[in-house]
């Protein structure tokens, strides 16, 4: 197991579980929430301003999370601007939602269009030649939630020996055997400990994503 491989699977897993959590919270909760959103938006489209305010308030956290997760290329202070663009678009286009259609696919498709648009606009307006980014462009599916600071925070949440193992293997690129020696474990024990540490880190990542 190479150092890179040792860390990425759990990153991917964490990222995936994050998005699953975002798109599919527990089914019954989600159905209830959908129903509420649909009722609110239907009433809003009939002219009930208070219902529309509640609808926007209810969808804002989800939208904000998506924008933050997708928007690492932009400074964080622009995320709120993009969120406001999306909210404005929801208002302008809210009549394109059909009452007999589920609201979530409508909302996500609309928001995605607006977010992509907003990033493109801002990308164009800062007008940096793409060559400058050429060697730092993130990979398509690069695991996003684990910046090195996040990693430090997360490693602080598991026990010190596991943390030092993970740090040695995943971040400093040592083999499991080498890492095990430094904390006084056999190669096999080190691998088991590492595996458990990774699983705990995944749980931590999942909890941080909530």
């Amino acid at each position: 197991m190479t150092a890179a491989l040792a860390f990425t699977p759990s990153c991917d897993w964490a990222a995936r579980s994050g998005s699953v959590r975002l798109m599919q919270p527990r089914v019954e909760v989600r159905l209830q929430q959908d129903k509420l959103w649909e009722t609110l938006l239907a009433r809003a489209n009939d002219g009930d301003g208070a219902a529309f305010a509640r609808f926007l308030g209810a969808v804002t956290p989800t939208l904000r999370a998506v924008i933050r997760r997708r928007g690492e290329a932009l400074p964080a202070d622009q995320h709120e601007d993009i969120l406001q663009d999306v909210l404005l678009a929801i208002h302008l286009k809210r009549q394109t939602w059909r009452r007999d259609a589920p609201v979530r696919p409508w909302l996500y498709a609309l928001a995605r269009y607006k977010v992509v648009d907003a990033f493109r606009k801002r990308g164009a307006s800062i007008n940096l030649p793409i060559e400058d980014f050429a060697d730092v462009l993130p990979e398509e599916n690069a695991a996003t939630p684990l910046s090195s600071r996040d990693a430090d925070v997360m490693l602080g949440l598991i026990d010190a020996r596991s943390a030092s193992l993970v740090r040695a293997v995943a971040l400093d690129g040592k083999s499991a055997e080498e890492a095990g020696e430094t904390v006084g474990l056999t190669a096999a024990a080190a691998r088991v400990a590492l595996h458990r540490a990774m699983r705990r880190l995944s749980d931590v990542a999942e909890r941080m994503m909530k």
């Binding site: 809003a44 489209n45 009939d46 002219g47 301003g49 208070a50 529309f52 305010a53 926007l56 308030g57 804002t60 202070d77 709120e80 969120l83 406001q84 909210l87 404005l88 678009a89 208002h91 302008l92 286009k93 809210r94 009549q95 394109t96 939602w97 059909r98 259609a101 589920p102 979530r104 696919p105 409508w106 909302l107 996500y108 498709a109 609309l110 995605r112 269009y113």
Partner: protein, 213 residues
């Protein structure tokens, strides 16, 4: 500077503004149909419907050159409306059905026609009139249709525009076919197809330009 506060303000402000006018595809469809009717009616009035329509209609290929475009138009307008609302599932394959039937007619005709007259039959006598009529008659309904669909929210504007172009072009073609006396599938599949393609291309360009929001 407190960004959260301004977002809350924006929500209050949006909630206080009146709901936008409803987006009704029925109204758009009615408008398109009326414009197509006016365009084709004027065309028939000036250039006439073919005089032998009643007897020619017994032929399968004569029916096909109206019915296939009509089917295409209805499918395409349905899809154009569907693609004007975010989150809908757009299934494009039904558009291929009339196209495949047309190709089938062409292949069938290939077997029947004499080697030498193939080209003459495909080029026909009125190819240019056909292209010009269909594109010119489509212009107004297409333009107005694009304007009406601006009230929708196409998340793939070029696709929606292209679908509207297919719908309008095919609708006009279905009517034009009642005037046109060239009944060989070699002619009408080629030239009607090309004409609808031109209108579809214009629709795509217009959509790309004017259906963004």
């Amino acid at each position: 500077m407190t960004p959260k506060q301004t977002t809350a303000d924006l929500i209050r402000q949006l909630a206080a503004s009146p709901a936008p006018r409803p987006f009704r595809t029925g109204v758009v469809a009615g408008g398109l149909l009326a414009l197509l009717g006016i365009s084709l009616g004027a065309f028939w009035l000036v250039f006439g419907i073919r005089t032998d329509l009643a007897s020619a209609w017994l032929l399968m290929q004569v029916q096909a050159k109206t019915v296939l475009p009509l089917f295409l138009a209805i499918t395409a307008v349905w899809l154009a409306f569907g693609s004007s609302r975010p989150g809908g599932r757009i299934v494009l394959w039904p558009l291929a059905v009339p196209l495949l039937l047309g190709v089938f007619l062409v292949i069938q005709r290939f077997g029947q026609v004499a080697e030498g007259s193939l080209q003459a039959e495909a080029l026909g006598q009125t190819a240019f009139a056909c292209l010009a009529s269909i594109t010119v008659l489509s212009a107004t309904p297409l333009g107005v249709g694009i304007v009406m669909l601006r009230r929708g929210a196409a998340i793939r504007p070029a696709l929606t525009g292209t679908l509207l172009g297919i719908a309008v072009g095919a609708g006009v073609t279905a009517g034009y076919a009642l005037h046109c006396t060239e009944d060989s599938p070699l002619f009408f599949v080629l030239w009607y197809g090309l004409a609808i393609g031109i209108v579809a291309g214009c629709g795509g360009l217009l959509g790309h330009r004017y259906l963004r929001w």
